[in-house]
Symmetry: C2
Subunit: 149 residues, 2 copies
DNA sequence: AATATTTATTTGATATATCAATTATTGATA
DNA sequence: TATCAATAATTGATATATCAAATAAATATT
C-alpha cells in the first residue's frame, strides 16, 4: 500500500480536473455538431424535451431529478423552450402550482432529428474504449457521487 | 462481441449523464465545505489564484490553458479576484496587451488555508476507490477528450 | 373554517460558460 | 515607415448553475 500512495496522490490531483475537462470537451464537441447541422437547440434543452416526451404529465421537479438540474434551471430552460415554440404550457387544473407541459410538433420533430446525431456523437466520443473500462468508469463515478452525498 | 452490444449501448446512454452528475455532485460538495468553513471564494477562483502563485508572470491565456477555461471566463474571474483583493493587476510594460498579476498577502493566505480542505475533499470523494480503478477512469476520460478533438 | 405547514414553482443575485465581435497592441512585411 | 496580420485581452449576448428568498397553491391541524 505504501508503494501505491504516490500514484494515488497524483491521480487524486488530476482526477477531477480530467473529469471536468472530459465532460466539457464532449459538450463543446456535441454542441458544435448540432450547430453544424443547423439545429437551434442546446443539449440541455434537448434533454428536457425528451424527458417530457418520454414521461407525459411529468412535473418540473421530476424533470429536474431526471436530468439532474435544480428547479431554477428547469424553469428557465422551459421558458426558453416555450419561447422557441418547442413546448406549450398551461396551468394544471388539478394542482394550480404545476404546469402541464406539451411538446409541440416542431419539438417532437427536432428531438427525433437530433437523436441520431446524439447517438453518433456518443459513439465517436467513446470509440476505442472497452466495455470493461466503461463499466469501471461508471462504477467509479457512481462511487464518487455517493461519497459526496 | 454481439453479446457485448446491448451492455455497451446502455453504458453509452448513461456514461455522459453519470460523468456530469459526478463532477457536479463533487463541486456542490466541495463548495459547501468551503462555505461551511467561512471561505468566501469559489473553487474556480481558488484554482486561478493557485495557478498564478505557482507560475509567476503567467499570462491570462496561459492560465486558461492550465485550468481549462476560455479567455472570457478567465478575464471575468480575475476581475472578481481583483475586486475581492486577492489579486492585483498592472499593465505589463513589456507587452501592454498583457497584465502582470500579483497575488496579495490575503490571496496567498486563503489559497494556503483552502488547500488542506481541498485535499480532504478529494480524499472523501475518492474513498474506497482502488488505484487501478482510478487509473482506468483517467485513461478512459483522456480517450474521450482525444476522441472529441 | 381559519391558521399553519408543506410543496411547486418562480425570481433575484451572482458566478461561470460559450461564441462572436471588438479593441489595443505588437510583430511582420512590403 | 506605413500597412497588414497576428495576438492578448475585453466585451456583449445568451445560456446555465447555484443559493436564497418569495409567491402561490395545496394539505394538515386545531
Amino acid at each position: 500500500m505504501i508503494q501505491n500512495q504516490p500514484l494515488m496522490e497524483k491521480l487524486k490531483d488530476i482526477t477531477f480536473y480530467t473529469m471536468d475537462k472530459a465532460i466539457r470537451t464532449y459538450r463543446i464537441f456535441a454542441q458544435k455538431r448540432l450547430r453544424e447541422n443547423g439545429y437551434k437547440i442546446t443539449i440541455d434543452q434537448w434533454l428536457i424535451i425528451k424527458s417530457i416526451m418520454e414521461n407525459p404529465g411529468i412535473s418540473q421537479q421530476e424533470i429536474g431529478e431526471k436530468v439532474f438540474k435544480d428547479n431554477a434551471s428547469v424553469t428557465r430552460i422551459i421558458e426558453l423552450l416555450v419561447k422557441s415554440e418547442y413546448l406549450e404550457r398551461e396551468v394544471n387544473p388539478d394542482d394550480r402550482r404545476k404546469s402541464n407541459l406539451n411538446v409541440t410538433d416542431e419539438g417532437k420533430s427536432i428531438v427525433k432529428k437530433v437523436h441520431s446525431l446524439v447517438l453518433e456523437n456518443r459513439k465517436t466520443a467513446l470509440a476505442g474504449i472497452l466495455p470493461e473500462e466503461l463499466e469501471i468508469m461508471n462504477k467509479t463515478l457512481k462511487r464518487i457521487i455517493s461519497n459526496c452525498n
